[in-house]
Structures are given as C-alpha cells and as structure tokens.
C-alpha cells in the first residue's frame, strides 16, 4: 500500500499549530500550544489523562474550534478547505462504536463511499488483517478487532495524514502489539501519522518524535531517544554489594560517579542505581572498580531508561498517577 501521489498545496509541514488555546468552562484544556509536524513523520502526543491530548487532536481534526490560535494541515485551514481536508485525512476517534448489526464489510463500504479516491474495501480489510472477520457482525468482534476496524475506516480514503487517538487504550498486550505492527506498516508507506497515547512504551516504539504534554502545555519535545538521553544516560544499572565477610558492603558514591560514563547515582534500599550512557564500556569499569576495593556483587541488573523516567524527571509525578 502506498500513500497516494495527489498533488499537495505545498511541501511545507503536514501540521502547523500556532498559539492554540481552548478552555471548557473554567478548565484550560490547551494552554498555548505551538507545534510543527513534518511530512512522513510519526508524531506522538504523550501525557497523562487530562493533559489536553484529545482536545488538541480534535482541534487538529476540525471537530473542536479553538478559542485562539491557528491550525494548518497540509497547507490548508479548516475554515477555507474543510471539504478538501476531509478527503485527505484519516481519523480514528476514541471510543467510536460502529453499529453492532452491520458486518465489517458493510461498515467499510459505507466509509469508503464518502471518499472520492481511496483504496478498495478488500485492501483495507487486508491491511487491518480482518480477512477472517469480513462477514462477521461488528458486535461479535473483540476489542482489538474493533480497533483495527476503526483503523481500516480511517484508511479507506488513502489519507496523507492520519490521526489516531489512543489507538490501543483498553487492549490486551497481544492486541496492542498487533496494532503497533499495523502502524509500522503505515509508517513505511510514507504517511504522516499523529497519535496520542498515555503509554510510554507505545510512544517509544512507534514515534519518530514525541511531545510530552502536561496541563495543556508541551513540556518536552524531541525524539524518544533524545528525550531519554536528556535525563543523562540511556541505561540504568542496579546492583547490591557485599564485603569480604559477606555483610553489606559500603562504597563511597564519589568512587562510583568518578567512573567514566556514569551520569548519576542514587541508593534506594541498599540497591545502587547508576544512570549510564553505554553499558558495554561502562559496566566493565564498574566491575573493575568494585573488585579493586574488595567488594563483591550480590545482585546486578540493567534496564533501559524510558519516557516514564523522563516524565518523572520533568514533573516529579508518574504518568500513571492521574
């Protein structure tokens, strides 16, 4: 499948937001947002529930009018180019329930009929891997299958720009991985994808760039790798030590932070945590240093730093706390 080669207004960004603001009653949902998403990019809006992700994406989709600020998609605005824009973008909303008594096939035929150009219903079913469920009623589908149907409905118009609002919320791990593979395939076809999620692993796995949102603002914006690197070190090394006699060992923190490649150190319940740039060069140095001081390792493990660590570093709160 390929994104269509229809002429575009310009080669500018797929999405351009300037000074976006939106309040509901006394709640400020979006508080001055500027954003630029380039063509072919997979962009993620990451944040806890209530951060303003859905409001932002619905303003982009032309479903909610902003109180202030401008929205430009594919070089067009909603006020002047709505009909053309609707033909060129694909949208998956949170919690759409398609009629239970229609089949997958019938639902897609309906959505396909709204678009002047697009892929065939067969192709959308194949892309969403719903071949076996083609003639099944929507009411009989699992959560993951329903979500793939929603994805297929967003794809039938062969969109240049695709919006996915929390595509995997409420799905089991296997269904989530299945959907990620689907998004991977769409990225390779060269589409621009903008998705919201409150799963850090999802954003890391899928997105070229991520904006972390909190209280209606973007508090960090970069590639997942760079965001993680920004907290100093992509890896976390955890270990516990004993001395010659087998009792808990004591080590001077200055000794550990002096090791080349160690960015920071903290102790939590007897377990030392080091954030480290590169495991393969730094870990041997840690081993050598501990051994030189007559200390033995009783525990040792490493894990990669995540966007969760970034969020905690920026806000002092966990993503899941909300």
């Amino acid at each position: 499948m390929q994104a269509n080669g229809r002429p575009t207004q310009s080669n500018g960004p797929s999405l351009l937001l300037c000074g976006l603001r939106k309040s509901f009653a006394d709640v400020v949902a979006v508080d001055g947002l500027d954003l630029e998403v380039t063509r072919g990019e997979c962009f993620g809006l990451l944040g806890p529930n209530g951060a303003g992700k859905t409001t932002t994406i619905e303003i982009c989709e032309g479903l909610t009018a902003p109180d202030a600020g401008t929205v430009e998609l594919l070089g067009l605005t909603w006020s002047t180019g709505e009909n053309q824009l609707r033909q060129r973008i694909g949208i998956q909303l949170q919690e759409t329930q398609f009629p239970d008594k229609l089949t997958v096939d019938e639902t897609l035929c309906l959505f396909r009929s709204f678009f002047h150009h697009g892929i065939s219903v067969e192709e959308s079913i194949r892309t969403a891997q719903l071949e076996e469920k083609r003639h099944a009623r929507v009411g009989t589908l699992s959560g993951g299958q329903k979500q793939r149907l929603a994805m297929a409905c967003a794809l039938v118009g062969d969109p240049e720009l695709l919006f996915l609002d929390e595509p995997t919320t409420g799905l089991d791990p296997q269904a989530r991985r299945h959907l990620w593979d689907l998004v991977d395939g769409l990225k390779q076809a060269g589409r621009t994808i903008i998705l919201t999620t409150h799963y850090m692993d999802e954003a890391e796995r899928l997105c070229d760039r991520v904006a972390i949102m909190d209280h209606g603002r973007i508090i960090a914006l970069d590639s997942p790798e760079k965001l993680i690197a920004s907290i100093g070190g992509e890896h976390i090394v955890e270990f516990a030590i004993t001395d010659k006699n087998g009792s808990d060992g004591v080590v001077d923190p200055a000794l550990l932070t002096a090791i080349a490649g160690v960015e920071s150190h903290r102790v939590d319940a007897g377990v030392h945590q080091l954030s480290v740039r590169e495991l393969h060069t730094t870990v041997p140095l840690i081993f050598a240093s501990l051994s030189a001081h007559g200390l033995h390792l009783s525990e040792f493990r490493t894990h990669s730093a995540t966007l969760e660590d970034v969020f905690v570093g920026l806000t002092g709160r966990n993503l899941r706390d909300e």
Binding site: L63, L93, T96, F98, P99, K101, C109, F114, F115, C153
Partner: protein
C-alpha cells in the same frame, strides 16, 4: 461495485435498511402490532348478527311452526324435560300444547325471553292462519363505513405513521450520537444532508410496506371501504410520515442519552395518543380544548385519512389538514436543523 452502490447516499440508506431489518422488535412494533391491535379491537367491537333464540315445544306440530321463523331454533321435548331445560337456561321459552290452545312458559324478567315470547307467538299465530292487518316491509342496515372498525382503521394508520416516524428517527439518531458514531461520521467527508436524507428515504420506502400491509389486511379481513382516491390516500400518508419524521428529528436533535430521548418522544406523542381521536372522535373533547386538539398534527392526519377513506373526500376538501401537517413539517425541520448536535 456499480456507481450507484458506490454513492454515499445509497450506502447510508442501505445501512438504515439493514439496521432496521436486523432489529426484530422494530419490525414487530411497526408492522405486526398495528394489525394485532386492529384485530383485537375489531373482534371486541364487532357487529354481531341477531342471536337465534333457543325455544322448546311439546308437540312436533308446534316445533314445526316455530322453526319457520329464522330467529328461532326449536326442539320437541316433554313438559318435564322442557321445564328442566328452562331452569338450566338451555331454552328461553317452552310452548306447551293445551286442549284449548298454547301456553308459553318463560321468565318474564329476561328480555331475551320476552323477545322469544313475541317471536314464538307470531310464528304460531301465522302458522294457524293469522293475517296481518297492515302490510309491512323491513329495510335492514348493514352498511360498511359506519361500523367501529371502519372508524378505527384510519385512526390506527395515523397512529402508526406517527410512531414509526418518531421512533424510527429518534432512537437511531440518538443511539448514533451516544455511541459517538455521529461524531465519527462528521469527521469523515460525508455530506451531512445525506445523513438526514437517508433517514427520509428509508422511511418512505418502509412506509409503502407498512401502509399497504396494514390497509390490505383491513380491506381483506374487515372489508374496510376506500371511498376516496388511492393516490390521494398515498399522498396523505407520505405527508403525514414526513411531518412526523421532521418532529422525530427535532426530538432527536439534542438528546445525548436514550433515556432522555425516550422521555421526550413520549412527551411529544402522549398528548396525541389521547387527544387526536385514534379510538374515538376528537370532537368529544370540550370546545375550549378544540383549538389545541385541531392544531395537533395527528388530529389533522387522522381527520384527513378518515375523510378520504370513509367520506371519499378529495385533497381540495382537506386543505386545512394538509396545511397543518405542512406547517409542522417545515417549522420542526427548520428548528431541528438549526439546533442539531452532531457530536
């Protein structure tokens, strides 16, 4: 796929059909229920043929004389048997041959027995050669169109047109809104007018089945008359249905939950169920209420349908009713479009 099958208006309409036919309850309420109601009420208020009165006589000769009258069913029995039959209510009257004539044994307080006495006496006197002093003739009235069922069928038709339009529009629009399907459709390039048009198209197609089925049944089973022109009757049905579709759209234009929609629909329909003369003439309400009763769309619809079917009126004689229906159609539709909530 053909060009027609690819068109969004066609797809939206066919989806309405599919969703309707896959909902067995809806089919029952719209197609089966009015027929059941007509059958039930038709049986309860049927015009019964005059009952044949059961009588007894003590001789075969008397029995023969009594049997000549079609209003009597006579049997020969002994006086003892006859007295027992009277006591158990099997017969209303026993004619006893006596040496000097005939004696009638019956319960004078029972009106049927008194009728039996008169009919039996006339039969026996006639058999004995009595001549009538005045020549008389009977003209029996069995005219169709004046029976209760004839009055009822146009009323039920109007009620059904109202219910199917308001429920049909109301529930599915509000359900789509509640399930965020409406929002999803608006996020697609679907032309919004086509969404509403698909409801009207599917309603009008279903109307054909609904009206032809119900009226065909009323014609075949009850012999209900069609004195007006059939195409004008069809036009009245279409106008009625469109008016109520428009009202249904208005009811569904804001509600976001099925409970709210359900309450609103009952609020709109209940006054008409009571006031619009479905089961009895709307003229029975006091004069002070009449302007309100007359302004209701269902009153106008039922008046027009009865005028067409029972009195053979043409559309020219029903301009007022048509104007009332048209006003409801336009006003409700205009308001609904203005306040309709797409998400």
């Amino acid at each position: 796929m053909s060009k027609l099958a690819m068109s969004s208006l066609f797809q939206l309409t066919i989806v309405r059909f599919r969703l309707f036919w896959r909902e067995p309850e809806a089919i029952f309420w719209i197609f089966v229920f009015p027929i059941l109601l007509a059958v039930g009420l038709g049986i309860a208020f049927r015009n019964r043929p005059a009952d044949v009165l059961q009588v007894g006589a003590t001789t075969a000769q008397l029995t023969h004389a009594l049997a000549v009258d079609k209003g009597l069913a006579a049997a020969t029995m002994s006086e003892a048997e006859g007295t027992h039959a009277l006591a158990t209510g099997t017969i209303l009257l026993l004619a006893i041959q006596t040496p000097d004539g005939v004696s009638y044994k019956f319960d004078e307080t029972n009106p049927d027995a008194r009728t039996a006495r008169m009919v039996a006496d006339r039969a026996i006197q006639t058999a004995s050669g009595r001549r009538e002093a005045v020549h008389v003739q009977n003209q029996l009235v069995h005219e169709t169109g004046s029976r209760y069922i004839d009055f009822l069928v146009p009323g039920l038709l109007g009620m059904n047109l109202m219910g199917s339009a308001i429920w049909g529009m109301g529930f599915s629009i509000v359900e789509s809104r509640q399930k965020k399907l409406l929002k999803r459709l608006v996020a697609s390039p679907m032309p919004r007018w086509q969404y509403l048009a698909s409801y009207l198209l599917s309603r009008l197609s279903m109307l054909v089945i609904e009206v032809v089925g119900f009226l065909g049944f009323a014609r075949l089973v009850f012999g209900v008359p069609f004195r007006g022109s059939l195409w004008q009757l069809g036009l009245l049905c279409v106008l009625t249905s469109l008016s109520f579709c428009s009202l249904g759209l208005l009811v569904a234009s804001r509600a976001t939950t099925m409970e709210a929609a359900s309450g609103l629909m009952n609020l709109v329909m209940l006054p008409m169920w009571i006031l619009s003369g479905i089961f009895f003439s709307a003229t029975r309400f006091p004069a002070i209420l009449q302007p309100v009763v007359r302004a209701l769309p269902l009153t106008a619809a039922i008046d027009a349908l009865r005028g067409n079917m029972l009195q053979g009126m043409n559309l020219g004689q029903q301009l007022i009713q048509m104007a009332i229906l048209l006003t409801w159609l336009i006003v409700a539709f205009a308001i609904a479009l203005r306040i309709f909530r797409w998400r």
